[in-house]
Point group: C2
Chain length 559, copies 2
């Protein structure tokens, strides 16, 4: 067997096409591609506007079982499936999220796929890329500076300094900034108050950018951001501080989707990357809708497991953007099923059919849930070397008993050749006309009932509890005209329940709502059911210690 | 008379050449130009390395009298002179600093020149440009996160939490961040302590990037940053926290000079932008040294007036990079001379020969000072519509009496056609062989004597005073091996003295050293003589309120 190469070695050995050529393959002329180096480009707003009214390709969602430390390979499968579809003669575009720079120096590596299913240039994608996240950081922090500046110069809007809802952001894992007191040092520096920083991907500006259809929509949504409240509890909007227009200026280029390529030179849009807990966790609407105009097939992914990611993809992104997915792929690995079945990470190497069977309950639940949305499902078994034939056969027979095919995929090791079968099956499914997409709940339902609907239908909770304060807050928002908004659940990604240790397919559990937040610009109500960390910390030995420039000037250690 | 167009209108109407063509004109092949859009590009490290050993062109410094609210037009004159030299058949490159994004939303407009002497694309240059400042922000804040993380996980280096010298940075005018308490909120967030944010241009990482000869030098200097001290007062370096290598990774692209063009399609390198008070205020060494290999003439500028900017250009940048300037242009305007002569801003429109004469003392002093460095001088009178013939004649005759020519320049209104005379005179001066550059003081002089030398020779101070603590600190640094470093004075830019209201040419004043700081990575000792603001605030009505995207998607209000 050949030596196993690292992701970065594979990526560096890639034979990349000039990005203008990749764009030309999609019918995008060079005048509509803003190059960033020779291997990245942004697509012009004019080109995107000119696609309106053209027919859409098929939309395929890649989602997964509940994540485990064993890894599922959702992005890898998304990229692999895109390559697989191109291999079998379909024009396919992959749409994935951009990577957050901060975590690259913490514990995880990049977010550009893996093995022979990657998007390149992976170093750039994992670092500054085309600067989108930096632009979001700037726009977010401009608003923050304008808030404190407004108060400093007399506070004409009468913002209640105790009720400022807008923090600052930085694209860095920096726990020291989670909670701070700012404006210390006397008269010249303003009024001291408690505040803090979140990581950039948790910014509402990120969610807004990812849900906006164009720059005008972006500016409108930025204006709708609630930055805080007056003493009479009336909201103060970003537009009250005249912040939305310069924020849109800062985001002008960031709003345009980024075109890169897979290792097999197929087009990939890598654009936007909102948090999957306090935000909806999908790549940008503008990237997905543009891709649909240019390709037969668009393969995209959602964050975390299907209980969070797919639900939000359907109920927030698809609902808001009018998208109608044609099929969903649920990614599972034998290892992750075994972990969901109770096996510890160190014991994953041993065949354990019993654990696979137990873990399958988790997959079965996700299959059922996705079908609830009227989207036909197929399972991708992302192959690991340690998987035994018996284990794979077990997954396939379990799936069959649930009326779903489970296809073994070897794209990590073999690229598109290893995922051809899945590609054919996905085409069959998407072209079968089975899809009858509809969101889980109607816009008109009350906010609390929407939460209950998600908790009962998707999480199989027995009960949803919330303090009076939370229920009152939801009612106030309904009175203020926010009742039509969808819900964005912030829940642990490790379980259907709110207890990260409850693997498998728990039911009858209690979902307790700790807090609700209104993202009035993005257009959803965030419902928080556990400890949600919006600013990660660095581990004792951060990955940064292994990241360096080698003597040839190449970046090492990014994975 | 034709209607006067705004800078942004002129810039938008520019007929830009594709940047690859501009690069080709300098002999840079497309494989060595990393495009950012069609009008900006970075020059590859390989190309730069390959220029070593080639002969250098002539280096022209553009500096100015002490700045006043009337404006002098130093960048405008730098750009204009570059165009003028190209117009008279010399191959010339303009080397200027990048603009800081934060202040664009505060009080000032951009920093890309003005009128018909601008570099374009001015909107990009004034906003995110090629992301260099964002990269510097990230690298700086990675180090900050690693410091608090190191302490959080046990503080193996025994950093004295009271003696952390490294703050955080943001490219935003945000006074609320000047002084903060971080790490609040309990065990999970670390050890609360006082700290704060500076604006990105004040980061030592910025100064380091601008003084580094290549990536290896950059990494070495980053490692030399002192992040704080132990209880025994021994310094803790960035390399002790293994921070310098990932920081260099973040700065890999930022280290490469940016190529853009003037309105007349001549090449301009816009790269780096360190503060001119706590840092040296010049564009990057790598841009200047590369430009010298590619052009007959390189026109560059220094920050503030010649007392600060030119002195640092000579004593820090030229000394460290081995540059030998061939001539210096001192920019003056009749209006600014009148303000230096005591006239108020509102009265500048009236002819006032007496005030011009009084203000001339300021110019005369700068002429004399620059000559001290062995660099021949010429004066550029940057023409304003309100200037009278008599006032201009007065400046010219004053200059002549000091053995210097003063040339009237109309580049703002006329582009290169308006500055041809200056271009010819500069060529004469540079080719006269008069230049005998040497820095003001030798490396071996004691740190305090270096400070005294600057204060006496350049500021004409009578005395330099400093507390025992300051003198002791300087001696400790000498013992630690930092005695050879040059001095970086942080003083008001409005006066030769430390009193911003003392215009003209004061002498015999006292320079009081309030504080000294060691920028061990950049390689200089910062000497602070007054209130130095390293994080600006926003005014009551920030410029941001006028900045927006118009219906065609163009940015308005940036000037």
């Amino acid at each position: 067997m050949a030596e196993v190469k690292s992701d970065i070695e594979i990526a560096r050995a890639a034979s990349k096409k000039p990005i203008l050529e990749v764009g030309a393959g999609l019918g995008i002329g060079p005048e509509h591609l803003l190059p960033y180096g020779h291997d990245k480009a942004k697509i012009s707003a004019e080109f995107i506007a000119a696609q309106r009214g053209k027919p859409d390709g098929k939309l395929i969602l890649v989602t997964a079982i509940n994540p485990t430390p064993a890894g599922e390979g959702k992005t890898t499968t998304t990229v692999g499936l895109g390559d697989g579809l191109n291999r079998i003669g379909k024009k396919a575009i992959v749409c994935i999220r951009e990577a957050s720079l901060g975590p690259c120096f913490g514990v995880k590596g990049g977010a550009a796929g893996g093995g022979y299913a990657q998007v390149v240039p992976m170093e750039d994608i994992n670092l500054h890329f085309t600067g989108d996240f930096h632009a979001i950081t700037s726009a977010h922090n401009l608003l923050a500076a304008l808030i404190d500046n407004h108060i400093y110069w007399g506070n004409e809007q009468n913002i209640d300094v105790r009720r400022i809802a807008w923090r600052r952001v930085m694209d860095m894992n920096d726990r020291a900034l989670r909670e701070i007191v700012c404006s210390l040092g006397g008269v010249a520096n303003g009024y001291p108050r408690e505040t803090g920083f979140d990581i950039t991907v948790a910014s509402e500006v990120m969610a807004i950018l990812c849900l906006s259809s164009d720059l005008a929509d972006l500016e409108e949504r930025l204006g709708n951001i609630i930055v805080g409240y007056r003493r009479d509890k009336s909201p103060v909007f970003a537009r009250d501080l005249k912040a939305h227009r310069p924020m849109a200026v800062l985001l002008k280029d960031a709003m345009q989707p980024n075109l890169v390529q897979t290792l097999e030179n197929n087009p990939a849009f890598v654009h936007g990357g909102p948090f999957a807990n306090i935000a909806h966790g999908c790549n940008s609407v503008i990237a997905t809708t543009t891709a649909l105009k240019l390709a037969d097939y668009v393969v995209t992914e959602a964050g975390f497991g299907a209980d969070l990611g797919a639900e939000k993809f359907f109920d927030i992104k698809c609902r808001k953007a009018g998208l109608k997915p044609d099929a969903a792929v649920i990614v599972a690995t034998v290892r992750a099923l075994k972990m969901n079945g109770g096996v510890k990470k160190d014991d994953l190497g041993r065949e354990n059919l019993d654990a696979v069977q137990k873990g399958f309950a988790n997959l079965a639940r996700h299959i059922e849930n996705v079908k609830t949305f009227g989207v036909p499902v197929i399972v991708a078994i992302n192959h690991f070397i340690s998987d035994t034939d018996a284990e794979i056969a077990a997954v396939q027979s379990f799936a069959a008993s649930h009326g779903v095919e489970a296809v073994l995929c070897r794209h990590w090791a073999e690229g598109s050749a290893g995922i051809e079968t899945l590609a054919h099956k996905v085409v069959e499914l998407a072209e079968s006309g089975q899809a009858q997409f509809s969101p889980l709940y109607p816009d008109g339902m009350s906010l609390f009932s929407k939460i209950e609907t998600i908790a009962h239908s998707i999480y199989r909770a027995g009960e949803v509890t919330a303090d009076k304060a939370v229920r009152d807050q939801l009612r106030v928002w309904e009175e203020q005209g926010y009742g039509h908004l969808p819900i964005c659940m912030a829940k642990t990604q490790y379980s259907f329940s709110t207890d990260p240790n409850l693997r498998g397919a728990p039911e009858g559990h209690v979902v307790t709502i700790r807090e609700v937040r209104l993202s009035a610009g993005a257009g959803f109500v965030v419902v928080i059911t556990g400890e949600i960390m919006t600013m990660p910390g660095l581990p004792k030995v951060p990955s940064s210690e292994k990241i360096f420039l080698n003597e040839q000037g190449y970046i090492e250690g990014l994975f």
